[in-house]
Structures are given as structure tokens and as C-alpha cells.
């Protein structure tokens, strides 16, 4: 049956099985490729999107669970105050290397910053350890979150 969805503020409709992971709806059915596939089991965080502002792993979130909620992806997260700050910090510090995981990193970091405007190192560890970066950009991600939070790079 067709699923009505709200993606980045716009109404969309897709005709897929109700056990289809949201990731494939976003990437393949809607053609928005900023959200990435990494593991398919919720282990790496590359596919992170927001449902009503909360970070979820879209590879293990069924489309049926996303219906009726506001879905936000990397393509629109810059329209939120926290997302804009995070993206600007990422540019200022040249955080990405290969960049493939960074959509997910930014979505997780944005949700953290929105919930905790001044996160501690422990908060960052807790919020970000579900997002793998094979290029090892962790130090700059940490600095990026601190820069976005305070306007200074921090420790």
C-alpha cells in the first residue's frame, strides 16, 4: 500500500512493503542519496536520520514506524539551528576525509547539540560511539561538536 511520509517538511508517498527499511525508501524510492548505507544492522550509524528530531538508524527503522513522523535527512538538517552550527564547524575544521560516514556523524552530532547545547566529553562519547568512521576522524568530530557548542575549539 502507498505510505504517506513527511520528509524534510514535504509530503511524500511511496508504495513499498511495510517492513521496508526507511533507508531504502529514502535512497532508492525517493532518490535522496545523502543518507548512506554502511552495515544494515544498526551497527555503524552511516544511515542516521531524525524522526521528530530524534536520531534513528534508518537501516533498521521500518517505513511503517516512520509514518506520521517528521523525517529529517542530511539534505535538510542545515535548516535547523543545531544542524547549521554543526555543518559550519565541520567545514571550519575540515572534519571529513572520505566523507562517507559524515552524513550520519552530522545527524548524530546535531541531535546531541539540540538536546545538550554544551555537551561534555562523556556526552560526546555516549552520543557518537554508535557512528563508525573508518578514516578515524574522531578527534575532529569531537572538536567540531565543541566548536559548534561554544564557538571555540576546546580541548
Amino acid at each position: 500500500m502507498p505510505y504517506p511520509l513527511t520528509v524534510n517538511g514535504k509530503p511524500r508517498s511511496v508504495d513499498v512493503d511495510d517492513d521496508t527499511p526507511l533507508l531504502w525508501v529514502i535512497r532508492d524510492a525517493l532518490g535522496m542519496t545523502g543518507t548512506k548505507f554502511g552495515c544494515g544492522l544498526g551497527l555503524c550509524g552511516a544511515c542516521t536520520v531524525h524522526l521528530d528530531g530524534q536520531p534513528v538508524r534508518s537501516c533498521i527503522t521500518l517505513v511503517s514506524a516512520a509514518a506520521g513522523k517528521r523525517i529529517t535527512t542530511i539534505e535538510a538538517v542545515g535548516a535547523t539551528a543545531a544542524g547549521k552550527k554543526i555543518q559550519e564547524a565541520w567545514v571550519a575544521l575540515d572534519v571529513p576525509q572520505c566523507g562517507y560516514c559524515q552524513s550520519g556523524q552530522i545527524m548524530s552530532a546535531t541531535a546531541l547539540l539540540a538536546a545538550k547545547p554544551h555537551p561534555t566529553d562523556a556526552d560526546i562519547d555516549a552520543a557518537m560511539s554508535g557512528n563508525i568512521c573508518r578514516c578515524g576522524t574522531y578527534a575532529r568530530i569531537r572538536d567540531g561538536i565543541k566548536l559548534a557548542a561554544s564557538g571555540t575549539k576546546g580541548g
Binding site: 532508492d28 544494515g40 572534519v95
Partner: protein, 685 residues
């Protein structure tokens, strides 16, 4: 470059630089971007000599063409690897920029009827200071195109660099933070269908039978494609393809490797180190020196198979038509990808169009074209373009792996503990012998032995042998830091063992052997000073040091490691000093070292691929663990000022790291790690 582009193209003095009448500078990039920053550092080389701002340069992926874009440091193969993109570009790309600038200046001088020597290029224009006249490059392009290309041009001296050596912002960052960066997996040619696949779980196995009745009933599934050794499900979207794949009932003929286990791999390697191999290096007379030594030290080491686990799983999109083939991929080897597609599709080479993309990690995995071949095999049976995306499980279990190596050492010390004999024999797969066969000569190749020979240390008697042994039933490939990923670990571990046997400080012991390599000594001293070598540490914490000269770069690391009472190992801090010659983009160099160190910790602590019943036992990030944010140490990087030609950077941090960590574990616990990964050692608890 399309026909429309060609019409406005005014000036293309070589294969790399093109300047349009609109002043747009286009750099055709022979090297690919997989995170290492080439899409910034290579433009810096051109921009420096061309006298344009980095922002004025637009990049295009080079098309497959080994004649124009072959890597001079990789035998002319059009490849990005071995940490040599900047090294390979250092002369030719600066020459390309300088030649273009010289011609633009000549064109301006001609138009003004003045001496070219009185003109100066700056910020994308030519200026004539005596009269204050200026012309932009775009205004000169058409005239410059009519001039002969100079055969040789003088390059700037390091003191004249304006851009090289400054921390340039990465050109690829903006697209990588807003979701617009396009990787191979993001290609969406019109009408594309999605596919995923199951390959024979045992290497060399075959499909015996397929029951696809249930899979065909999955909503969105369009087609089941059966190959000799794989089955693919083609669907409207990846969700349906995966669901369809799970619904298939496939019976496999496992073939000759059905019972393969690790003993079948390690046994022959160990055995091979008991008989002579090919002599990679010989200095003095090790036999006599060993016989006369006061103390003898012996050890064996093992390092495991490793998967690449790039964040972007293997994928390739292919469209096979009767008259040609088109592929969309992110590859480190453009020309090989084209060749593989042509051969598999059965069409002439010039009928294959390759669209290259950003790579979501390479690490050597995308130096292989098995993914291209798979996609084209499947696309031959599909009407229209099909994107073949491997699940993470396929990506891990059908990787081509960093070889397993087995090493045997013996050494002799004199009465003062100094090493008077160094004897090293090791066995493992030669990736070079498969990947570039002429590189394997007389039983040796330059990759397997790099880091095991031409040591930074002055050793009076040294003998190194290599035995090529290919493992049964499992393919091997280059993996970030290649040969040195193994050799530096074992050499730096065994050197640490010698220091311990001599009851000497491991740093001072090394330092005494570095008189012939002042650059090595300098980075060692710098790392030691910054790490506070010798200062007291809490119980259970130790420092370890390692040093290497590989990829034409000198590097030293000091790792600070904590071993908890339950055996849990945590790397707290890594201090790294590097002399990589001229640091083209220091900010990228810092990033690459941070990256390499994290990659190295992952390998040292967790990384291993094992086989049971011919099957790879690991499958995803739960059992092939990679370092996460909460485990990442503080990393301090110190770059030595140098005017030497640039050295490699993408891999050095990785190969040097494991020994620094295991030497630190020894310092903390007295326990020597001789087999990686560390997590496999119950002995620490």
C-alpha cells in the same frame, strides 16, 4: 569533457590543465579522492606554479587513459595507491602548471609587445608592472593556445612557495557535509534497478541449485540472476532486493576448499620459514656473528588476514548494451576497471565508458576490480542499468585480504648488549606477483620486503629472506600500509625484544643505532621529547616506541597504553613525529596521521579474519570491530620542517602504530605480544 566544453575550450597545453575563455581553470585529476586529500594537495601543486588561487581550480576525474594518466611510480598503471599521489605528481603537475603560466605570460607580452621578463603572473592574471596593464588568463587563453609548449620550465624554489606548505582548506569538504557529495553507490542513471547478491560462501565454490519461487513473490523484485558462483536479486529498491535474497534457497557446491581452516593456512607458512628463501638483503656475515654472540634472542611472529571494511560497501552500477557498456563506480584503478568491464561484457575497450566517483574509503580494496566484474556479469542479464550493492556481510566475507604472515627471527648481542647479528626470514603471499607480475623477480618483490630491509638502523651483520607462500582458498590484496603493515610491526617488536634482552631503555637502544640516518634520529628525539619519555606513569600504564622509514617518509611514534587488571587494553595517547619532506598541505598531513593511527589501533587491537570450513567467520561490525569514538586516544602530531621532496603520507601512521602499542603493553605488563590482534591474547588477563 563533453563536446560543448570542447567548443569553448581555449587553452589545454597538457593533459592536466585547461583554461577556458571564461578564465575557468580545470584540472584533470589523475589520482582519486578517497579521503587522503589528493583533491586538494594536487591542485595546490598546479595552482602554486600557475599562480591562481586554489578556489579558481575546478576538478574533473581523469578518464581511463594510462598513456596520459598512468602513475609513474606504479609502472605506468593508472592507479592511486602506495601513498604516492603527491610524490608522483610533485614534478609533472608543477611542470604542467609552470608551462601553462609561461605560455600565458608569453601571450600577454606578445600582445603588449614587451619583454616577457617584464611581466608577472599573479592571481589568475598577467601584469605588466611598468605600465600597470593587466590581462586575465581567460582573455589570454586563445592566444596562449597558439604558442609552442615549452620543453622545460624553471620551477619555484621552496623559499618561493606561496601555497605549498600552508594549511589549505579541503576543496571537497562542503559537499561532504551537506549530503551532495556523490560516491559510486549514489549513481542513479535513468531507469536504474537495484541488485544485491550472494556469492559462494566458500571461495571457489559453485551454485548447485536455486529455488527462487518465494523470492519472486516479494513485492518490488524484478528478476533473479544466476551466475556460476553467485546469485543476484534485481529489484526496484535495495530493501526488496535484500528481502528477495533472504527468500532464496540456494544450494552450493563448496568445491575443493570446503574444509579449509586456519591450520591449513598457518601450517605451511610456519613450515616455509624453516627452509631458505630468497635473499632480500645481506650485510656482513650473520652466521659467524651469531656464533660469536654473547647473548642469543629468538622469536616468531604472526599477523592475521585483515579485511578493508571501507565504509562504502563494494558496489558498481553497470549498463550493458549490444554495442557497449557503461559503468559508474568509485575505483582506484580507472583503466583496469574499463578493461575488466570490456572483457566481461565482451565489447571493445573503446566502447566502455567509466564514470568515476568519490570513494567512500579505498585502503587498497578499490585497487581490485572484482566488484566491476560482478556488476557487469549481472548487468549482461538485465535490461537497462543495474546497481549492484554488496551487503556488509558480502563485503567482509568476499573481500581480498591483507595477507597472513609468519616471521622467524634470531639475533645475537655482544657483551654490551649491542646487536651484532640480525637474522629474519618470513613467509606470506606476494600481492605484487598477482597484481603486477613483473614486480616479482627472483622470489622477491619490493612491497613484501619494504620495512624488513634497508632498515634505519646501522646493523653490522644482517640477513633477510622472504618465502612466497600463497594461502589456499582465500584471495589476498593490498591493504592500507601494504608490506610495512607487517614488516614494521615485526622489526620494531623484535628490536624492542633485543633492548629488553640487553636490559636497556628501548628508546636509547634504538637511538644508538641511528647514526647513519639523522632524519630518523630527529623524529625519534622529537617524539620522545613531546611524549615525555621516561617520566613516571601510573601502574598498568606503559609507553612504547616505534620508528620507520617507509613510503619515503620518516616517522616515530610513542604510544601510551593502559592494561586493566582484567586484561582490557586502552590506548590513551599517541605522539607522532614525522619528517615527510616538504609538507604540501600540513593540515591534511595531520589528518592523515590521525587517520592512520586510528586504522592501526583497530588492526592491532581487534583486526582479524579467520576461516572455518572454508568460510570467513566474521561478517559485520559486531565481529569485525573497528575503533569507535569512546576508544579513540589523544593524538599529537609534530611535523619536522624540511626542504626534501615530499614523502608518502596516507599509510605511514598505520604501519607504525601496532608495534608502538604492543611495546607499550610490554612496558606496562612485561608481556610480549607476538601474534596480532591483541584482543586474541588471553594471556593479558
Amino acid at each position: 569533457m563533453g563536446a560543448a566544453d570542447a567548443a569553448v575550450e581555449a587553452f589545454a597545453p597538457n593533459a592536466f590543465v585547461r583554461i577556458g575563455a571564461d578564465g575557468q581553470v580545470v584540472l584533470t585529476m589523475p589520482y582519486v579522492e578517497m579521503g587522503q586529500g589528493t583533491y586538494t594537495s594536487i591542485p595546490m601543486l598546479i595552482a602554486e606554479e600557475l599562480e591562481v588561487d586554489l578556489k579558481q581550480v575546478r576538478l574533473e576525474h581523469a578518464p581511463p587513459n594510462e598513456k596520459l594518466y598512468g602513475n609513474p611510480l606504479l609502472g605506468g598503471i593508472q592507479a592511486t595507491g602506495n601513498s604516492n599521489a603527491v610524490r608522483a605528481s610533485w614534478q609533472p603537475l608543477r611542470q604542467a602548471g609552470a608551462a601553462a603560466r609561461t605560455m600565458l605570460v608569453a601571450a600577454a607580452a606578445k600582445r603588449w609587445n614587451v619583454d616577457p621578463a617584464s611581466c608577472r603572473a599573479q592571481s589568475g592574471e598577467v601584469r605588466h608592472a611598468p605600465t600597470g596593464r593587466r590581462l586575465k588568463y581567460g582573455q589570454l587563453a586563445a592566444d596562449a593556445a597558439k604558442l609552442p609548449v615549452p620543453e622545460s620550465v624553471a620551477l619555484k624554489r621552496p623559499g618561493e612557495f606561496k601555497l605549498i606548505g600552508t594549511p589549505a582548506k579541503r576543496l571537497d569538504t562542503p559537499a561532504k557535509v551537506n549530503g551532495t557529495a556523490v560516491y559510486g553507490i549514489d549513481a542513479r542513471p535513468k531507469g536504474v534497478k537495484m541488485a544485491t547478491l550472494a556469492q559462494s560462501p566458500v571461495f571457489g565454490g559453485r551454485v548447485k541449485s536455486v529455488d527462487d519461487s518465494k523470492a519472486k513473490g516479494v513485492k518490488g523484485v524484478r528478476q533473479i540472476v544466476r551466475l556460476d558462483d553467485a546469485v543476484a536479486v534485481v529489484a526496484d529498491h535495495m530493501g526488496a532486493a535484500k528481502k528477495g535474497l533472504a527468500a532464496l534457497v540456494i544450494e552450493w557446491d563448496d568445491g575443493p576448499h570446503a574444509k579449509l581452516g586456519m591450520n591449513d593456512v598457518v601450517g605451511p607458512l610456519e613450515q616455509a620459514t624453516l627452509s631458505p628463501g630468497a635473499v632480500a638483503e645481506n650485510v656482513g656475515d650473520v652466521g659467524s656473528a651469531l656464533a660469536a654472540a654473547v647473548t642469543k634472542v629468538e622469536a616468531t611472529y604472526q599477523v592475521p588476514f585483515l579485511a578493508h571494511a571501507t565504509m562504502e560497501p563494494m558496489n558498481c552500477t553497470a549498463h550493458v548494451r549490444s554495442d557497449g557498456c557503461e559503468i559508474w563506480v568509485g575505483t582506484q584503478v580507472m583503466a583496469r576497471a574499463q578493461e575488466a568491464a570490456a572483457k566481461t561484457a565482451g565489447v571493445p575497450l573503446d566502447k566502455v565508458v567509466v564514470h568515476n566517483h568519490l570513494l567512500g574509503g579505498g585502503f587498497g580494496r578499490r585497487l581490485e576490480v572484482d566488484g566491476v566484474i560482478r556488476a557487469v556479469q549481472i548487468a549482461k542479464q538485465v535490461d537497462g542499468p543495474v546497481k549492484v550493492v554488496w551487503t556488509r556481510e558480502e563485503d567482509i566475507q568476499h573481500d581480498m585480504y591483507r595477507p597472513y604472515w609468519f616471521d622467524r627471527f634470531s639475533a645475537g648481542l655482544d657483551a654490551n648488549g649491542a646487536p651484532v647479528a640480525w637474522n629474519h626470514r618470513f613467509a606470506g603471499s606476494s600481492v605484487i606477483a598477482r597484481w603486477v607480475p613483473p614486480g616479482f623477480q627472483n622470489g622477491l618483490d619490493g612491497d613484501s620486503t619494504e620495512g624488513a630491509i634497508d632498515l634505519v638502523y646501522g646493523l653490522p651483520n644482517l640477513h633477510v629472506e622472504y618465502v612466497r607462500v600463497e594461502p589456499p582458498g582465500i584471495p589476498t590484496a593490498f591493504w592500507r600500509s601494504v608490506g610495512p603493515s607487517h614488516t614494521v610491526f615485526v622489526v620494531e617488536s623484535f628490536m624492542d625484544e633485543l633492548a629488553a634482552a640487553a636490559k636497556k631503555d628501548p628508546l636509547a637502544y634504538r637511538r644508538a643505532l641511528l647514526d647513519k640516518t639523522p632524519r630518523a634520529k630527529a623524529v625519534l628525539d622529537l617524539a620522545a621529547e613531546k611524549a615525555g619519555w621516561g617520566k613516571p606513569l601510573p601502574k598498568g600504564v606503559g609507553r612504547g616506541v616505534s620508528i620507520q622509514h617507509a613510503f619515503a617518509t620518516y616517522m616515530a611514534q610513542v604510544a601510551e597504553v593502559e592494561v586493566a587488571s582484567d586484561g582490557a587494553v586502552r590506548v590513551r595517547r599517541v605522539v607522532c613525529a614525522v619528517d615527510c619532506g616538504i609538507a604540501v598541505n600540513p593540515d591534511t598531513i595531520r589528518a592523515q596521521i590521525q587517520s592512520g593511527i586510528i586504522f592501526g589501533i583497530t588492526a592491532a587491537l581487534h583486526g582479524q579474519i579467520t576461516l572455518k570450513d572454508g568460510r570467513v567467520q566474521q561478517s559485520n561490525f559486531h565481529d569485525y570491530q573497528v575503533l569507535r569514538m569512546n576508544e579513540a586516544p589523544v593524538i599529537d602530531v609534530y611535523i619536522v620542517n624540511s626542504t626534501e621532496a615530499p614523502g608518502g603520507m596516507g599509510e605511514t601512521g598505520t604501519s607504525l602504530l601496532p608495534a608502538a602499542v604492543t611495546n607499550a603493553i610490554f612496558a606496562a605488563t612485561g608481556k610480549r605480544i607476538r601474534k596480532l590482534p591483541v584482543a586474541d591474547q588471553a594471556a593479558l588477563a
